[in-house]
């Protein structure tokens, strides 16, 4: 199973900033290994984030996103102690969900 994400969420004024670090190889499918075989594409395809269960971000990703991606976004609202949950699903069907509370 994939390693956990690191999620930080802080409220400032009327909006909340969420910063997420994900652990993923993000293979483009264009690279060859030392034996000359193509390394198959393996990347995060969808990312979703919820605030107390309500969706605040939904993204479709491709192979142009870097290895071990860093995602930062803001949304209107949020208060200290609210729950933020982030989920990614990759093209192999592997998925990972982690959560944090707004600080």
């Amino acid at each position: 199973m994939a390693d956990p994400m690191k999620i930080r969420a802080t409220v400032a004024g009327d909006s909340t900033e969420v910063k997420v670090l994900m652990s993923h190889e993000m293979e483009t499918g264009q690279r060859k290994d030392s034996k000359g075989n193509v390394v198959p594409a393996w990347f995060i395809q969808t990312v979703t984030a919820t605030w107390n269960g309500k969706p605040v971000l939904s993204a479709q990703w491709g192979t142009a996103i870097a290895k071990n991606p860093f995602l930062a976004f803001k949304f209107k609202g949020g208060a200290k102690g609210d729950k933020i949950q982030v989920t990614w699903v990759d093209n192999k069907g592997d998925k990972r969900t982690d959560e944090t509370v707004i600080a």
Binding site: L21, S23, A66, K67, N68, F70
Partner: protein, 269 residues
């Protein structure tokens, strides 16, 4: 006519040289900006999290964790430990850096065979390194602590002296020493400015910013890796992981960084 053309050509050459100098300083500034922008989302944190879990996980034939490992400040004390390494350990009767100490603990506490503990210390696309993750977490617990590498035991002083000798030793196909690239200000490899490790500031800035997440490799790299790759670039024979030579050179460089606040895991290009 002819003289005029030569003068014009000379002026053009001068302009190109001036541009080159300007581009060089701008590049260093831009790389600094790039690092600052990345610092916020440093993927080294992923290694730190994995390392902390590995430290507490029962592993090896004896099925115990590393939590009784003595990094120099007593069994299990991690906070600030990295700033006193390398140092002499009586139980091993040798000077050890963090990586060699971790190998020692894996062998003596967890019962992992030494060859297995030292296998594949540098992670790549096909395997994750336990050592790199452990080093990431342990060093992160020393962030902000001042470097204080001891020189009390005769073997610590010997390691420093040997390390200094290696630093200035010229050899290999290119007749290089560490000091060839790291003994003067303003040297660089391609666009990367190289630290002058013979000055206090240079040694401090370099040593306190390793380990680091290398964006170009997508991996967290430890000081053992840094030295190993420097040896490769010098066309020296491979620096054996956790060898006495690698620990001696680390002792020399770490001791010269004494007094500076440790500031890693960092992020580098």
């Amino acid at each position: 006519m002819r003289a005029g053309r030569t003068a014009r050509a000379a002026a053009a050459v001068l302009a190109v040289v001036a541009c080159g100098a300007l581009a060089q300083t701008n590049t260093a500034d831009e790389i600094a900006k790039y690092r600052a922008a990345l610092q916020d989302g440093n993927p080294a944190e992923l290694w730190e999290a994995r390392g902390e879990a590995l430290w507490k996980e029962a592993r090896g034939p004896r099925n115990v964790s590393l939590e009784r490992c003595d990094l120099g400040l007593g069994p299990g004390v991690v906070k600030g430990a990295y700033t006193h390494l390398p140092r002499y350990f009586a139980d091993a009767d040798r000077v050890q850096d963090l990586e060699s100490r971790l190998v020692f603990c894996m062998v003596s506490l967890q019962g992992i065979p030494e060859a297995e503990a030292k296998e594949g210390p540098f992670g790549g696309p096909d395997h994750k390194s336990a050592i790199e993750a452990l080093v990431a977490w342990i060093t992160s617990e020393s962030r902000g602590v001042k470097m204080d590498v001891p020189q009390n035991h005769p073997k610590e002083r010997e390691a420093y002296a040997v390390g200094e000798k290696i630093f200035y030793y010229r050899g290999g196909t290119h007749d290089f020493a560490c000091a060839t690239c790291h003994g003067e200000d303003g040297k660089r490899i391609r666009l990367q400015d190289l630290p002058n490790l013979t000055t206090r500031e240079g040694a401090q800035k370099a040593y306190t910013t390793w380990p680091a997440y290398r964006v170009s490799q997508g991996e967290l790299r430890t000081f053992q890796w840094r030295l190993n790759d420097c040896f490769r670039q010098q066309r020296f024979p491979e620096l054996v992981f956790t060898s006495d030579a690698s620990v001696a050179l680390t002792t020399f460089l770490a001791r010269n960084a004494n007094g500076a606040a440790f500031d890693a895991p960092a992020i580098k290009r």
